[in-house]
């Protein structure tokens, strides 16, 4: 028997209505009714898509976090050779926190912040030193940075997970939307953390080291004397074209930024006369579309971070009326914490030449100049 499909296939052939068109109409009607009676249905569907996307990226963050944790543990085992398993201690340090000071009364907040950060840094460093009994001092500094990366990615993961779960629990599309919008940037930062962990596990110079590299190259071969002036910070005395140059920089090759603010302050206060110029050299964040390794110069103090060092030099310069000059080498946030790229390393030589020109043009013979190389000195001796 041959089935008759004409009713399904051709309304005209069947003479008007057929089952297929009725079914389609019913589907349309039911969809219409759903959206009419349940107006937030579309939003619900969108929320579920967004949550799924967020979950996928959150898993990626978790993978990166676990990878960095493993790199940290392996490096501590390899370099520090502890006679116990450092994993639980690394996990404990990943949850370490620093509570910023109360700023309701802003008077003295800079020094309160300095005290808290110093306390945190010292205790963190001591914990890492205890975990790595066989590591050399500069390796302890670099391992401390590595554990800090582990802490950073752990915090990032926890915060993203918090907003994901909160958005899911409350079905708050606006909350989920905000975290989902910034997720690509957060994943990029997490990837940069991963590359940074590789750099710190081997003691490689990173993009942020460029300021210190310029200072180190300036004093290479012409250093007359060197001494420590503040924690992890040293002064190198030189003479360049009849100018007395004092280079302030973090002590390498371990991963530390030192205390350039305190170093410059102590140094200037100990000098017989005021310097004619304070020059800071640092890496700075470029804008999208700008070239990495581009050099710009201007006035002011080129120091990032929490602002303590910048504040100290600015305050000192204002009190003594010392002009401030600055060189900044542009790079992205990813480049700042990952192994140093060729364009950034080569920019250091160009800055060096520009720095010499500034010394020649702006300072008369016999004058004193302070040059502060700012940044993490990992991989720069």
């Amino acid at each position: 028997m041959t089935p008759d499909f004409t009713a399904f296939l051709g309304p005209a052939a069947a003479g008007g209505e057929n089952i297929l068109s009725v079914l389609i109409s019913l589907v349309w009607l039911s969809m219409f009714m759903i959206f009419f009676l349940y107006p937030s249905f579309g939003q619900r569907m969108q929320l579920s898509y967004m949550l799924r996307d967020l979950e996928r990226k959150l898993n990626k963050l978790k993978m990166i976090k676990d990878e960095i944790r493993q790199t940290t543990i392996d490096t501590i085992k390899k370099v520090g050779k502890p006679d116990f398993d450092p994993a639980p201690e690394v996990d404990r340090l990943s949850e370490f926190f620093v509570i910023p000071p109360e700023s309701m009364d802003p008077y003295g907040v800079v020094y309160k912040l300095e005290h808290i950060l110093e306390t945190g840094e010292t205790s963190y460093e001591n914990e890492v030193r205890r975990l790595s009994p066989h590591a050399e001092e500069h390796q302890v500094k670099t391992l401390t940075n590595l554990v800090e990366i582990s802490r950073g990615i752990n915090t990032l993961y926890r915060i993203v997970r918090h907003y994901y779960l909160l958005g899911k629990k409350t079905s708050n599309i606006y909350l989920v939307l905000q975290i989902q919008m910034i997720m690509p940037q957060l994943v990029e930062i997490a990837e940069a953390y991963k590359m940074a962990s590789v750099a710190f596990s081997q003691g490689q110079p990173i993009g942020d080291s460029v300021g210190v590299l310029v200072a180190a190259k300036l004093s290479d071969g012409v250093e007359k004397r060197r001494y420590n002036i503040a924690k992890d910070t040293m002064v190198q005395e030189l003479e360049i074209e009849n100018k007395r140059v004092y280079v302030v920089r973090a002590v390498g090759p371990g991963g530390t930024v030192g205390r350039p603010g305190e170093g410059v302050k102590q140094l200037v206060e100990s000098l017989p006369e005021n310097p004619k110029l304070i020059i800071t050299v640092d890496a700075g964040l470029k804008l999208e579309g700008e070239e990495s390794g581009k050099i710009v110069e201007g006035v002011g103090v080129a120091i990032g971070g929490p602002g303590i060092d910048k504040y100290k030099i600015e305050e000192l310069a204002r009190q003594r009326n010392i002009p401030l000059y600055a060189f900044v080498i542009f790079e992205s946030i990813q480049e700042a914490i990952t192994p140093m790229k060729e364009s950034i390393a080569k920019a250091a030589d160009v800055v060096l030449q520009k720095l010499r020109n500034v010394l020649k043009e702006k300072v008369e013979d016999g004058g004193i100049v302070v040059v502060a190389g700012i940044g993490n000195t990992v991989g720069v001796g």
Partner: protein
Amino acid sequence: MSSDSGGGFMSWTPRPRERLSQTITFLKCMDCSAENSRPFIEWDYIFKVVEGEKCPKCGGTRSKIVNIYVPEKKESK
């Protein structure tokens, strides 16, 4: 990068992965000042004096690390 709110397949394309090039250490022979390079070895640092690595030019065994960086590929014009 996903630009739609649902992370749909229409808009998402995998970003080409940036391959991490190998870090290179540049050394300067302390006898003949010739510069040479080799792959980065863990805990190398700039201005480290390396003993026991022969200079390919003069055979000197003392050299100083003068730079460490990741070479970038030159864009063809």
